[in-house]
Amino acid sequence: MCSRSVPPSMREVTSMTVEEPLARLDQAAWEDLVARFGGRMWAVARALGLGPADAADAVQGAWLRMVENLDAIRDPERIGAWLVTTTRHEALRLSRRRRGEVAAGHELPDAVLPDPAAAVVDADFGRHAWQRLESLGEPCRSLLRLSVLRPEATYAQIAIRLDISPGSIGPTRARCMSRLRGLLEESA
């Protein structure tokens, strides 16, 4: 990842060191992990459209996966990415169950591999992304604002708010996200 995409505070996610093996973490070190990464985990669960109760379950699920994998996590320097990635897995599983979809089998490995892409889940990068988002034209600017700030809003609610057809929201949002990603890559 380029240097602009990884601001200093975010590098904590990928370069944080835990001096003791994970299995020997004490209460203070654990609470430090909660303080560092709890907000990022919550933001990911909510960004996937989960309501507060389900998002709370997804985040707690990730912490419990860490509890049961303390001996198996071999790369403490990437524990932040592991926690964010695991939150995403748990949130997606909850979301699928809420939609009545049956799991396809071994979707979640015993120990989730940390996704390097999780490093962008950072407030500094978010501020940079907001600057780019505000430079988009309409309806992208308003649609993405709503996607960020009201992830649980229905297509019907968004359609009324932005005066566009509900059927066009999904494709339009995908196009707008693609444009935003393009702007971020250009500025990297």
Binding site: E68, R88, E90, L94, V120, G126, V148, L149
Partner: protein, 158 residues
């Protein structure tokens, strides 16, 4: 760059949705749910007859959480867990096999994020606990002289 990660970064920067206090408190409390020296039993897909309280005998895939029958296995020990939600309360029953037999003093500890209850296993390995909160649950089998064996955490909410 995944859309959800980008949206999450934007949400963090907006600061409009802070982590609820109880979410942080539960995360901090999860530290006490570690099981030093323990062994984690992985979920196993099973097809078989209905359990004592299940309906049609169908059992989910290993990753299919929720109420119903679930089997976990590791190193020759199998823990069957049946989770039922009645009036918003979680009831957990199950069986450890092979069975401990008479006088073995095996125990089953049923843990949630907030409550833990321990039961002596019957000679045939059965256990049952009611009055639990819904949400995440795990069963730990304690055997004298052996490392504790816990099921992976299972999400059970209606």
């Amino acid at each position: 760059m995944r859309d959800e990660y980008l949206l999450a970064a934007l949400r963090l920067a907006a600061g409009a949705d802070p982590v609820p206090g109880r979410v942080g408190a539960d995360a901090r409390a999860a530290f006490h749910l570690r099981l030093p020296g323990g062994v984690v039993a992985a979920p196993v897909e099973v097809r078989g007859p209905a359990g004592a309280r299940s309906g049609d005998g169908t059992r989910g895939a290993p990753e299919d959480d929720g109420p119903g029958m679930h089997r976990f296995s590791v190193a020759g020990l199998t823990i069957d867990v049946e989770a039922v939600i009645a009036d918003g309360i979680l009831e957990v029953a199950g069986q450890v096999s092979p069975a401990p037999g008479p006088g073995a003093a095996w125990q089953a500890e049923i843990r949630t994020s907030h409550v833990s209850k321990t039961r002596d296993l019957s000679e045939n390995g059965r256990f049952a606990v009611g009055g639990l909160p819904t949400g995440w649950v795990s069963v730990v089998c304690h055997r004298p002289g052996e490392p504790p064996v816990s099921t992976r955490w299972l999400h059970v909410r209606s």
